[in-house]
């Protein structure tokens, strides 16, 4: 493996901003849901913030991602607009998808958020198609497909990895291994010692990395993205992390190992990253506080925007089913 440059200060600040945005967004969204302001099922990415932040600082708006129901962190990191994301989750006409898709299907092509799927494993085959398009256009775009550890056991994932390897698609497969698929622990569903071990079966580089370590995650992501951009084909990254809020908001976590969870939460990547930035002198307290306050304001605005936005008109049921409106 070649030596990848560590992220410089600017990049670290950018990463931290994305991490904090995801973090605050999640806290606020959960409280908006708990207080009844917004009604939705919610799959919190709390604890997994660093992964897409480290990936996305290596991507441009032109690059594509495909993500999943637990994907609001991936979208935010990619730069999709907070307001429209909130409005979509709130089912408003002003949402990214006019309220028709909802949180599991947020789409925002302008920032490269091409597909969000609620079907386990289905982000990967479609990501291949985006990557094939880039080969055809020779546009040097990279596509990232996010998926979970549980998803690694479903057929579509395997088919997609093999095809990508055979076709040398410019795609990066990022498995966010948070230790659980719904209520099932990794050890009970996944036969791989580590998921990256499966890459060898596709002659694809595979790496397991601490997804909560910003520098390690950055390095792994950068290498994979560079490889894809240079036409050297796909990579499988297994980013180890933890799911702080259980599978779905309201989940009682009875099936989780208490000790495992306690330890993971004590090791919360968000304050850890913040402290490290300060300790390393990459940022000053005031600077971060200011950044965080701006994010808070952005989220305030998103919430207000959502609550003041209209619900979609029922005529929307006839639109976008086909290109031509139904009558």
């Amino acid at each position: 493996m070649k030596e990848t440059q560590q992220p410089d200060r600017e990049v670290l600040l950018d990463m931290y901003r994305r991490v904090n945005l995801i973090y605050q967004n999640d806290e606020r969204l959960r409280s908006a849901i708990r207080s009844g302001k917004i009604a939705t099922t919610y799959y919190s990415p709390r604890g997994q913030e660093v992964i897409p932040a480290a990936v996305s600082v290596n991507l441009t708006d032109e690059d594509y991602i495909c993500t999943i129901y637990r994907g609001v962190h991936d979208m935010l990191a990619k730069g999709a607009p907070v307001k429209e994301i909130w409005a979509e989750i709130g089912g408003r006409a002003t949402g990214t998808c006019k309220g028709k898709g909802g949180p599991m299907h947020i789409t925002h092509p302008a920032t490269g958020v091409m597909v969000t799927t609620g079907i386990v494993g289905s982000s990967l085959p479609i990501a291949n198609g985006l990557a094939w398009a880039s080969q055809l256009r020779d546009d040097k775009r990279v596509t990232v497909a996010y998926f979970g550890d549980g998803a690694s056991n479903i057929g579509a994932v395997h088919e997609a990895m093999n095809m990508a390897a055979v076709k040398k698609f410019p795609v990066v497969f990022v498995c966010q291994n948070n230790g659980y698929g719904e209520h099932t622990h990794y050890s009970l569903s996944t036969s791989a010692r580590q998921i990256s071990d499966r890459a060898a079966g596709y002659q694809m580089p595979g790496v397991t990395v601490d997804g909560n370590d910003p520098v390690a995650m950055y390095v792994a992501a950068k290498e994979a993205i560079d490889r894809a951009r240079n036409g050297d084909g796909p990579t499988l990254i297994e980013a180890k992390t933890f799911r702080f809020m259980g599978h779905v908001l309201g989940d009682a976590d009875g099936y989780m190992d208490k000790e495992e969870k306690k330890q993971a939460m004590a090791n919360d990547p968000v304050p850890r990253f913040r402290q490290w930035m300060l300790d390393q002198g990459h940022a000053q307290e005031e600077q971060l506080a200011e950044m965080e306050a701006a994010i808070t304001a952005e989220i305030d605005e998103a919430l207000a925007f959502t609550l003041s936005s209209p619900m979609p008109d029922v005529a929307e049921l006839k639109r976008d089913v086909f290109a031509e409106e139904l009558n």
Binding site: A39, T40, T41, G91, R92, A93, C97, K98, G99, K100, G101, G102, P103, M104, H105, T117, G118, I119, V120, G121, G150, A151, N153, I154, G155, A156, G181, E182, H183, T184, L188, S189, T190, H247, V248, G254, Y255, M311, P312, V314, E316, L317, K318, V321, L326
Partner: protein, 327 residues
């Protein structure tokens, strides 16, 4: 029999009683065992503690593997009850269901049978959007070798589940997620329904409402409203969608001369089409009005609440369909 139970409890009882009676009854699916809390809604709760995790097997997220394991075990004489969590996820297991479960008896010339029950839940109303709420029963009903069953009350859920498990052929048992917690009379333990038999839930002389599953409760409400206007509606609960009970359906419509078929699946090419096609043939010349169909709007299931509400068939839709038969 004044005790009340909901659908979850009733199905749980049916599984429990069937497993107690017959060692050959198995349960498998994602999170079905107790360490995984007996499924996301707890339908299989308690079973693995009682019958062991070899008979009640939590699986990886791999619907083809789930169905394959169920089919293989069924061929050797077991009676597996396989859960495909949501009906939309049957789309990743259709090969196993259609090309194998449904056909092995025939293709083997009767040597291998597949006494398998597939449990799956679905239904709009909870804001789960486009990939989690489809009603696909018409697909399965169009497949020779499969039976399709859905209950409209907890007691029927018990008796029909017992019937599916006892049946020598693969049965798809459809559960409605939004009405899981609706209470009804407790089943009489040990009751096994007869598949292929509809039930007249309300007698009436003026119009037949033919439905199944959750929309039966809509029909019951609508019937009372119609009664106030002097229209006596007869309600026929199909219970078994395939093969449906032609005799009972035809007898009711022969009596009333009018028919409205109600279901949550989208109307075009839905179950209502088959029933209407059958009735216009069987009762040609004796119908007072065309057979009417009321289903969901022909669009993917929308997320936003007002759209979701407008998508589903409403009481008003049923009432105006009924009234149109009196014009």
């Amino acid at each position: 029999m004044s005790a009340k139970v909901n659908f979850i409890q009733a199905i749980n009882m049916a599984l429990d009683d069937a497993m107690a009676e017959d060692d050959g009854v198995l349960v498998l699916g994602e999170d079905v065992a107790d360490p995984q809390e007996g499924g996301i809604a707890g339908v299989t709760k308690g079973l693995s503690s009682k019958y062991g995790e070899l008979r009640v097997m939590s699986t990886p997220i791999a619907e083809q593997a789930i169905m394959g394991a169920a089919i293989g075990a069924a061929i050797t004489g077991f009676r597996p009850v396989a859960e495909i969590m949501l009906m939309n996820f049957t789309t990743v297991a259709m090969d196993m269901i259609i090309n194998h479960a449904a056909k092995l008896r025939f293709m083997s010339g009767g040597q291998t049978s597949v006494p398998l029950t597939i449990r799956t839940m679905t239904g709009a109303g909870f804001g789960n959007g486009g990939q989690h709420c489809d009603y696909l029963e018409a697909w399965f009903a169009h497949t020779a070798g499969l039976k399709v069953v859905t209950p409209s009350s907890p007691a029927d859920a018990y008796a029909l589940m017992r019937a599916c498990i006892a049946d020598e052929d693969p049965c798809l048992f459809i559960e409605n997620l939004p009405s899981y917690w609706v209470q009804g009379d407790a089943p009489e333990r040990g009751t096994v329904a007869e598949l292929g038999k509809a039930k007249v839930l309300r007698e009436g002389s003026d119009v037949s409402l033919i439905s199944y599953g959750r929309t039966i409760s809509d029909c019951l409400v609508v019937a009372e409203q119609l009664a106030e206007e002097g229209i006596q509606a007869e309600i026929v609960d199909l219970r078994t969608i395939a093969p449906y009970d032609k005799a009972t359906v035809a007898a009711s419509v022969e009596k009333t001369g009018r028919c409205v078929i109600v279901h949550e699946a989208v109307t075009p090419f839905g179950v209502g089409a088959e029933i209407a096609a059958y009735l216009q043939d069987e009762l040609f010349g004796s119908l007072h009005a065309p057979v009417k169909r009321v289903g969901s709007v022909f669009s993917p299931v929308p997320f936003s609440k007002p759209l979701e509400t407008a998508f589903l068939p409403s009481h008003d839709d049923v009432i105006s369909a009924v009234k149109s038969t009196f014009k």
